[in-house]
Structures are given as structure tokens and as C-alpha cells.
Chain length 455, copies 2
């Protein structure tokens, strides 16, 4: 154990966190009062300025850095040991609050009740951000400074797919050098077991569009006139069969199987098949691998949306002139979204669907942190200390987050955080974070800052 | 030629039609002022009462007959020759007028301009109805009465699929006995050539519904959770291949080829391939049979609508829990919608889609009038006299109308009418009928009443 992290020190940190909660919640209330809705480009500059103010107050040298979209707030603070650097990733934009009528209190006014605080962004990601400030405040208050260098990267487009972030990161690689990055979306399972996810799948999101006629036609002409909906149905059915096998040539080429270390982690995870079945009212899942997390090492091809023709009540006899399908592929190590995009295009062309337009809407490679990275062990050890339970460590999550921006540069990514299972209603009305989870995350993060990079 | 139909008589009839136009347009204005929108059940009783009044005024014994839905207005008038009966079919309901902002004058106020009258129903089917009243008025004015018995069947649910009509017709078969029936949707091609369509394809309209999850899920779980959109894509692609071949077992069993008489009619029809290509911006039609009407002897399977998941701008990563597809089959002689429905269900079951719900939304058998029926010859002969051109006679139209209700009982169906190609904007804003077409139809119909059943 690091010399800084004696019981005396950590007790004082916990006490500091306990006693100064109101101050952080006031800061969280100020952040949540700015409706920085990414999709509407609202409150962006104002929210970036407040993030900057909050970092400056903690001694960070900051700048608001243009990206072509919403700016990144960048911050840097020097620590006692200048040879090691820990980076925090956050985002200051939020999802829209709609449907507004489902909120019990106004979405942009932080409301404290039932041991929690409610607001859009209370958890995702403003609550996460403030919990980290609480952690470094406590460390500084108790030890008089930061033990290592701290960097901050707070982006403003996470809820719109972080489209400008990869280029910004590439252009700022020098001042992003760090030994580990703390990501978002961490926390515990609903039973309080801390959960660590070491990897995220990649994503390719495309839209297929067919246009077969200059306008919709009466279906009496269906022998004569090509139907855009049928074009897409045939194109899509050529891409995946009813056994869920993806039929795109070369699609699986780059897929790697779990490493030995990943296999070890998988073996220690709970099964969760029943949990999934119950949550979605199913007798059977598509795959019943145990644990369920094994399935995340397989890529997917998901129809996220399909629209064509008449969608109202009853019957209307029309040949749709246009149709579209939205398709997302979850990509696994070592698949690459650009490579997959090219293969989808080639598949369509070689199967007679040259007429189907393919539009690239988003792409992120997968990202994985090595299971045996020292910071993973350290984070797990602290989790057990703070939460009283050894964490579950999943090698790969089903979803996507752009941790590849750091893992591809060899930087391990961990994510202690304020989440509580999937209960926080991020993206939904009445988003909340529990005060208890906030304090536990702050305690976890403070210890991490204190001990990093203990090896 | 019938003794009644001397040139002296027909000249007087034409003169009567010319001189009394305003009276019929006043009646049409009264009818169009009632927004008898079928889908909204508006103005139905009021409109039925006015139809009854207009028939009573012409000496018809009438009743308003319940159907379980909107009532049928039934009328009967005796003619000099009581051994022959001609029936008129009409409907007094209309399509919704939306989008209202596209109307140049209010949809429920008949507006006369540019040689035409504009209103919802001005053509479909209130204008058609009044043209027929004009015809019988002229015959009565010139000859002092009706030469044969006349029946009227005016239904109120045509725009909602005539769902209650088949049962009503079956229950009223005795008082519907007739030697021929005059249907709607007749008139000329856009170049003024009279068009006669002797048959209509049948229809089966179904909705396929899939529900795979209790709620939409995050697409990170796409390996585990069945996707309703994919279920329907696979189910549909099993039903028709990209070469437009319908793969449902037994689907084509009852299809008959054109008779010799039908073949003769087809051979005399114009090609129309280029016309279709141009109208819809196509290099090639799905089939380029010549004439195009040959294609109508093939049944179709058309996706009229498909809806699932996210259909907004950009990307949302969701697994749709529910999806639906609307499907219409145009059926040819001697296919039967109930038989086809059973075959579709059986197909789904035998291809692993027992979970896909199949909902029967509408069904009508095809109907055909024999090409060599005497009333067909008579109608064609009069058409040439009135329009100055021999009519085109198509054995089967691409669309559907429930003429099977009479043809299945051996009653030939013809349809002289007020239509002008596909230009009348029936079902669209600024629906109109040209005054000239109204008068030509009235002259055609008057001569038909006068000479029927001349053989």
C-alpha cells in the first residue's frame, strides 16, 4: 500500500466527503441548471464555461478548445509526483429531457429527495463529473495537494456520438499523455457489487435507403413498379439469416476469440441468463452462453429502425417509392468500422443491390484494456475496500464508448463511478443519482488518486 | 336500334342535359356540403337521407337499410318494361379532405371554375351519382317514364373497404335481382378515349405483427434479444423473392390464364409501357408485357407499409420490441382471399414464423364480366356514338372494386362514368370533375337506360 493511503488518511478523506457534500451538490445543481442538450446545441458555451470555472477553482490550468463541433474543456494540474499522470474523461452535454410531462420535478432543477438527487444529467454525466471533483477536493484537503498530475478532458458531444472527438484527440495527443484514463459509466450492479468493464465494443451505424419510383403509386400497379420496401427487405435478408448468422463476406475475418485472461474473467462472472429472460419477458435468449458476457465477444447486426409506406391504422394500398432501414453493428476486437462499412457496400453490390444507398452515420472501433494492467488490479483492490465486496470484472461490455481513443494508444482505461445497475434512468425522465453512490464513488476515486500508480 | 332511341329522342335528351345542368350541380353542391367522411363516421345519416330524398323525388320507392355499419340507401322504380332491371351502384361516403391547406377552395363547398366543379366527392362518388340522376331525369323528361325497372344501391362504406356490404347484399339478394349493374370508376382515358374495364382484381389486405420483447432494448444486447424487425424481414423475404416470384405454397393454384375473349381484348389495347416508365421515372418496369394490362392477370404481393424502431434523424441504437408490415395481395380470377389468407398463415407456420401474428384487414374476391355479354357490346356501341371514338375495353383492371358481388351471381357489370384518366384527384386535394365529362357521362347513361337490354 502507498505511503499516502494510511487508514488515518483515508478516514479523513471519507470524513471530508461526508462533511462537504452540500457544496458539491450545489455545484451539481448549477451544472444541471444549464440545459446543455447536445442534439439542440443549447447551453453549450455556458456549460463549458462552468466546467472550466470548476476546474480552475481546483488549480487546473484550463482552456476551452474548439473541435469543429462543441468545444472540449481541457484541464491540467500538477502533482507532487510529476512522473505520473491520471486523466479523467467526462462530457458536459446531456440528452433531451422529453417527454417533459413524465418528470416529477423540473428536469433542469436539481431536486433532492428519497436519498437521491434528480435532474437531467444528475448522473450522466454531470453527477459523475462532480463526484470526481469531490474526490480530488478531499485528497487535496487532507494531503495538501495532488499526489500525481491530473488531466481533464470534458467533451460536449458524447450524446451526439462524439463525432469530433477522435480528430481532436489525435491533434492533442501530446498534451493527453497519461498513464491511465478514468472513463464514465462505472458503478455497481443493482445488488451493490462493484462492476468494472474493461472493454467496449465498437460500432458501425449505417442507413440503407432505397428509392424506386418518383412518387408513391397505387398498389394496383405492383406487378409493374418496383417497391422500395421490398428492395430493403431483400437486401437485409441477404445480410443476416434467421439463425442470426451474418452473411456479409469477410465480416468475421478480424474477430478474435477471448484471450486467456479474458476467459478467466468471464469464468468468474455470474450467469445472468435468467435476469435477462425476466427483464424482457422471454422463454429463451437468442444465445444462452454462460455467462451472458461471452456473447459480447460476438459482433451483431441489428435493425434499429425501418420505415416505409403507410403506417397508420387500417389499410392503404400503396407502393412505397422510398424506404429506409437503420442498422447498427456492434464490433468486437479487432474489427474496424471502416473496414466493415466497405464490406457491407461490397456485399450489397455483389448481391444485386447497387441501387441501395448506404450512408455512414457513425463509427467507433472497439477498445479493450488488458485485464492484467496494474491499474485494473489497483482499482479492483480499492473497490473491495470501499464497497466491501470484490468487484465483478467484465472483459467487454455489450455497448460502445470511445475508450479506443486511449486504449489504442496503450493507455489502460478504468471507470469507477456513481452508477447503480441500470436504474439511474440516464436518457429517461427522472434521471437520478443516489447520494450514497455519489459518496462511495468519491471515496473510491479519492483512494485511486491517492495511490496511483501503485504497482 | 331500340325503337325509343331514335335520333329525335337522343337529340332531345342531349338538349335536356344541356339545359338543366344547373339543377344537377345544385344537387351535387348539397351532397358535397355534407362531409360524409367514412373513416370518421361523420355526416353519414344526413348524407344517406339526402340520397334518399333525391331518389324519392325521381319516383323511387326507397329505404335506408342498416348494415351493421353505415346504412345502404336502397331504391326501386318501375319501368314500362317490367321484365328487365338495371341496377346502379354508388357510394355516398368520401375520403378525408386532409391536407386541408392544399385545397384552393373549401373541400365541402362545390366550386365551379375552369370548366369543372371542385369539392371532396365532386367525382368520387357524388358526381358520379348525380350524373346518373341527370341521365334518368333526361330519359323521363323526354319519354315520360323509365323504359325498364331501375334499382339503386348506394352504400356508405366504400372508402372504408365496404366491409359490411357483402353480407348486406347476400341478405338482400331477392330485391337486388337485375340484368346488369352499372358500377363506378368509369370514364375516358386522358386523351378522351372511352375506357371500359370489365373486371377487377380481388384483394387480400393483411398486417403482419411481431412482438419479441416486453419493451425496446438497448442494442448492446442484440446477441441475446430477438429483434421484431428482423423477424418480419425474414418472414417477408420467405414470401417473395427478388425476382418477384411469390413463394407461398399453393398461392398460384387457382390462377387462370386469360380466356380467348380476354386475349382478344388484350391484343387490341395500347402498350402503355412508355407511359408508365415516364410517369414513375423508370428505365424499366418489373415486367414489360405488352400491353401492360396482361400483367393484371398475375397476382401481386405488395408491402404497403413497414414500421419498426427508430425512424427519426440520425442514429439511435435500439432493438425494436415490435414491428408491423402491411401487405396487400391483388388477386386474379379464380383466387379467393380467404383461401389465400389460410395459405399465408400456413406458410408462416411452416417456415418457423408461428410467432408472427397475421391480421386480416380486408378481403374481396376478383370479379369479371364476360367480354361477350350483350350489355358490354351495347355500352361500347353507345360509347362510340357519344364520345366519337370506339372504347378501349380492358378485361381486368389492376385495382379492386367489389363488382364480384354481382358478377359472382352472373350479373354483368359495366361502368360508364365521369372520370378523366387518372386526373380527377379522387382521394387528393382539389378533387374535381369536368362539366364536359359530366354531360358526356349523362348522355351515355341516358342512352343506356333508353336502350337496355337491347340485344
Amino acid at each position: 500500500m502507498n505511503v499516502n493511503a494510511t487508514t488515518e488518511v483515508t478516514d479523513k478523506i471519507d470524513e471530508h466527503i461526508e462533511q462537504n457534500l452540500d457544496g458539491w451538490l450545489d455545484e451539481l445543481a448549477r451544472l444541471c441548471a444549464i440545459p446543455s442538450v447536445s442534439a439542440r446545441h443549447e447551453g453549450i458555451a455556458e456549460c463549458a464555461a462552468l466546467v472550466q470555472e470548476l476546474l480552475q477553482k481546483r488549480g487546473f490550468a484550463t482552456d476551452i478548445s474548439p473541435t469543429g463541433g462543441h468545444p472540449v474543456v481541457y484541464g491540467r494540474a500538477e502533482g507532487a509526483d510529476q512522473s505520473h499522470t491520471l486523466l479523467f474523461y467526462n462530457h458536459y452535454d446531456v440528452q433531451p429531457a422529453e417527454p417533459l410531462e413524465l418528470w416529477e420535478t423540473p428536469p433542469f432543477e436539481l431536486s433532492r429527495r428519497d436519498g437521491a438527487v434528480f435532474a437531467r444529467g444528475a448522473k450522466d454525466d454531470k453527477g459523475e463529473f462532480i463526484a470526481r471533483l469531490a474526490a480530488i477536493d478531499a485528497v487535496k484537503a487532507v494531503t495538501g495537494g495532488y499526489p500525481c498530475n491530473l488531466l481533464w478532458l470534458a467533451e460536449g458531444e458524447e450524446e451526439s456520438g462524439s463525432v469530433n472527438l477522435p480528430r481532436w484527440v489525435a491533434e492533442n495527443r501530446d498534451r493527453l499523455r497519461c498513464d491511465a484514463a478514468v472513463w464514465e459509466e462505472g458503478g455497481t450492479e443493482s445488488d451493490g457489487t462493484p462492476m468494472m468493464r474493461l472493454g467496449a465494443r465498437g460500432l458501425l451505424y449505417v442507413e440503407l435507403r432505397a428509392k424506386t419510383l418518383s412518387r408513391d403509386a397505387h398498389s394496383g400497379g405492383a406487378n409493374l413498379l418496383p417497391n422500395a420496401a421490398w428492395r430493403l427487405i431483400w437486401a437485409l435478408s441477404s445480410m443476416k439469416d434467421a439463425d442470426e448468422r451474418i452473411l456479409i463476406d469477410g465480416f468475421y475475418d478480424a474477430v478474435r476469440t477471448p484471450t486467456e485472461a479474458e476467459d478467466g474473467l468471464l469464468a468468474s462472472l455470474p450467469d445472468r441468463v435468467d435476469e435477462y429472460r425476466q427483464e424482457f419477458g422471454l422463454d429463451r435468449l437468442l444465445t444462452e452462453l454462460s455467462p451472458i458476457d461471452r456473447a459480447f465477444f460476438e459482433p451483431t447486426c441489428n435493425v434499429a429502425g425501418f420505415g416505409a409506406g403507410y403506417q397508420g391504422e387500417g389499410s392503404k394500398t400503396v407502393i412505397p417509392a422510398e424506404a429506409f432501414a437503420k442498422l447498427d453493428f456492434r464490433l468486437v476486437p479487432n474489427q474496424d468500422p471502416q473496414d466493415i462499412f466497405r464490406k457491407v457496400r461490397r456485399h450489397l453490390d455483389s448481391h444485386g443491390f447497387e441501387d441501395v444507398e448506404l450512408v455512414d452515420l457513425a463509427g467507433e472501433p472497439p477498445g479493450v484494456t488488458e485485464a492484467d494492467a496494474p491499474v485494473v488490479r489497483l482499482t479492483a483492490e480499492i473497490a473491495e475496500e470501499v464497497y466491501g465486496k470484490a468487484p465483478q470484472i467484465a472483459p467487454l461490455s455489450g455497448g460502445t464508448t470511445p475508450m479506443f481513443l486511449f486504449t489504442q494508444a496503450g493507455v489502460p482505461v478504468i471507470a469507477p463511478g456513481v452508477g447503480w445497475g441500470s436504474a439511474n434512468r440516464a436518457h429517461s425522465p427522472n434521471e437520478f443519482v443516489r447520494i450514497e453512490d455519489f459518496k462511495l464513488a468519491a471515496r473510491h476515486l479519492a483512494r485511486l488518486v491517492l495511490r496511483f500508480p501503485e504497482t
